[in-house]
């Protein structure tokens, strides 16, 4: 039992506890806060696993961005503050069934994976360097990731990176944004036209 393992267990427990509490809480604000705890713990797990960039992205995108949007969406659409969301027994039964099925799937997958197959390829732990610009193996994944996304992978055979997928994803996001703005605007225009007709 090393300190890293203790910390990992702690954050894993927090992530699971937060997720369970999202389901069990009835107040919208508490659900949102439990989700923060869960997502932030996942980012801590990434840090513990030497994936610093993914951890930071998790904090920035999921905890920061998505959650604020969620808070906006859920809280502002609720009719009164501290609205409670109650689930009917049938919904609980259905959700529990799906949850158990998913748990079985995850357990089956965990059992099927040969976990020792990649041990030799994993980064060596605990190489502490004084200056910046460490190698990717010691956990500074920033530079290799950035180069790979810009289309350069010096270490890979062929040396080509992921520029095309990166561009496709960003164009896709742009299309989604424009589409969302278009849909929101049409609705508002239709409603205001209807109001002016009624008036």
């Amino acid at each position: 039992m090393t300190g890293e393992q203790i910390l990992f267990g702690l954050f894993a427990l927090l992530a699971c506890g937060g997720a369970i509490s999202v389901v069990l809480c009835q107040s919208v604000v508490r659900m949102a806060f439990s989700l923060i705890v869960s997502l932030a713990s996942v980012s801590a797990l990434f840090f513990l696993l030497n994936a610093d960039f993914v951890g930071a992205t998790q904090l920035m995108v999921y905890v920061g961005g998505t959650l604020v949007l969620l808070i906006f969406g859920v809280m502002l659409t609720a009719s009164s503050p501290f609205v409670r969301i109650r689930t009917s027994p049938a919904e609980g039964f259905l959700a529990g069934g799906i949850g158990i099925l998913f748990l079985a799937l995850v357990a089956f997958t965990i059992g099927a994976v040969d976990w020792d197959a990649t041990t030799a390829k994993l980064p060596a732990p605990a190489t502490v360097a004084t200056a910046g610009h460490n190698s990717a193996e010691s956990g500074n994944t920033m530079r290799p990731l950035a180069l790979a996304l810009a289309g350069l992978r010096p270490d890979a055979p062929g040396g080509s990176g992921y520029l095309l997928p990166f561009e496709i994803v960003s164009m896709h996001l742009l299309v989604v944004l424009v589409g969302a703005a278009y849909i929101a605007r049409t609705k508002r225009n239709a409603r205001s036209a209807a109001q002016s007709r009624a008036g």
Partner: protein, 422 residues
């Protein structure tokens, strides 16, 4: 974990802990890292709390002077220099109220979320060369992510207060923070693109340098603020940073004349003062980012720090550098205070217009210009240097040092593209 932990101290502690049974049970490296983390957090705690107290006093003095008053004069003898401490003691004695309609647990928790988010940002401030809480390669990215978490505490505070003033304040604050984060991050990216690293320590190192006898230009021309594009970006960044600290003229979240005190309405005593501590600390943090990215960080601009470190007085040089860094950041905080007591508050629609219609297009244009500028220089002028005042050749030296990394450090993508064009 390792890249985020304090490095040099960890090695020292690891040597001492080799025989300790507890350390063996935890893993020697982990125990050493834990001790180093405690030391760093304690040191940073001083930088978190003490400047905040000084800035609160400064705010009162400056606002007094601007309004033709004296401000605090008596506490602590002269100039009222103990006023912040007296305020703190007064606030500790106040009753810790929780309104009847509030969600008690989250209402009490919200100030801690704000303080933790603001404190975590201090981990990545480069106080001096290598004097940084965590010399992570994702430094600035993680720092901006941490600072953006502050809004969650504010929203929780506003929503869980069970008061309409607080809810309005929190919603305004959330809308404002989300919009201003975008131009702020884009402007912070400009020096990052120029330096080719997110590590704030490296960004400052690239701006520092010594006098070159062959070239009569002072080394402070290396600072990013003298770069034609980044110099403009500094002002856009600073506007957004002021807004992200919810300072006037962007203090819509508190807006005393409209919303009583916004999200702070229901808070009293120590929890209220925690919000204030976090606000002044994050003012220092964003000013520190500005100083590191644009104003040369710990570099004094005349090669003094550099010279001291070259001639063996590394500790003295670093201490001087830390003083210079704190001075630069404090001057920017002073600027924020000055702006607060000079400009009137703008309306919420004006806040949104300023951001969406002016600051974001400006930031995007500047970013494009910053990317194209070195390419234009390299193709037209046959001069791949980004700054004209590279008198010390510091950039050349440090990129040569990094070439052991087998990937060139300075804007690697640009270099490759230029080679491909020829």
């Amino acid at each position: 974990m390792e890249p985020l932990l304090a490095a040099s101290l960890t090695d020292t502690f690891a040597g001492h802990l080799a025989d300790c049974p507890v350390a063996e049970w935890l893993g020697v490296n982990f125990a050493a890292a834990l001790l180093a983390a405690i030391v760093h957090v304690a040191l940073l705690g001083a930088f978190f709390g003490v400047p905040a107290g000084i800035f609160i006093w400064l705010e009162r003095k400056v606002s007094g002077r601007i309004q033709d008053r004296l401000g605090p004069t008596r506490t602590g003898g002269r100039f009222g220099w103990l006023q912040s401490l007296a305020d703190g003691i007064k606030l500790l004695q106040k009753e810790d109220l929780t309104p009847k309609d509030a969600d008690g647990f989250l209402f009490r928790l919200a100030p801690y979320v704000v303080v933790v988010a603001s404190f975590a940002a201090f981990l990545f401030l480069p106080f001096s060369d290598g004097w940084i809480g965590s010399n992570a390669d994702v430094g600035l990215f993680l720092m901006l992510a941490m600072l953006s978490l502050e809004v969650i505490g504010v929203i929780l505070a506003g929503y869980c207060s069970g008061s309409k003033w607080a809810l309005f304040g929190a919603m305004r604050e959330a809308a404002q923070m989300i919009s201003y984060e975008i131009p702020m991050a884009i402007c912070a990216l400009i020096p990052i693109v120029m330096a080719g690293t997110l590590n704030l320590n490296e960004v400052v190192r690239l701006q520092s340098g010594a006098w070159n006898p062959e070239m009569p230009l002072p080394p402070f021309l290396n600072w990013n603020i003298f770069h034609p594009v980044a110099g403009v970006a500094f002002f856009v960044y600073f506007t957004c940073a002021t807004a992200s600290c919810k300072r006037a003229p962007f203090d819509l979240a508190e807006a005393e004349s409209e919303l009583v005190a916004g999200f702070l309405t229901e808070y009293s005593g120590f929890r209220w003062s925690l919000f204030f501590l976090a606000e002044y600390a994050s003012m220092f943090a964003v000013s520190g980012i500005a100083a590191a990215l644009f104003l040369g960080g710990w570099d004094d601009g005349f090669g003094i720090v550099h010279g001291l470190k070259q001639s063996g007085y590394e500790f003295i040089g670093n201490t001087l550098g830390m003083g210079i860094f704190c001075l630069k950041a404090s001057k920017l905080v002073f600027l924020q205070i000055w702006v607060r007591w000079t400009l009137p508050r703008i309306r919420i629609d004006q806040v949104m217009t300023t951001c969406l219609k002016y600051l974001i297009p400006m930031a995007c244009t500047l970013f494009l210009a910053a990317v194209l500028y070195p390419l234009i220089l390299a193709t037209a002028g046959q001069r791949p240097q980004i700054l004209p005042g590279d008198s010390s050749g510091e950039r050349g030296v440090s990129s040569a040092a990094a070439s052991a990394d087998d990937v060139p450090r300075n804007t690697p993508v640009t270099t490759v593209m230029v080679e491909g064009m020829e």
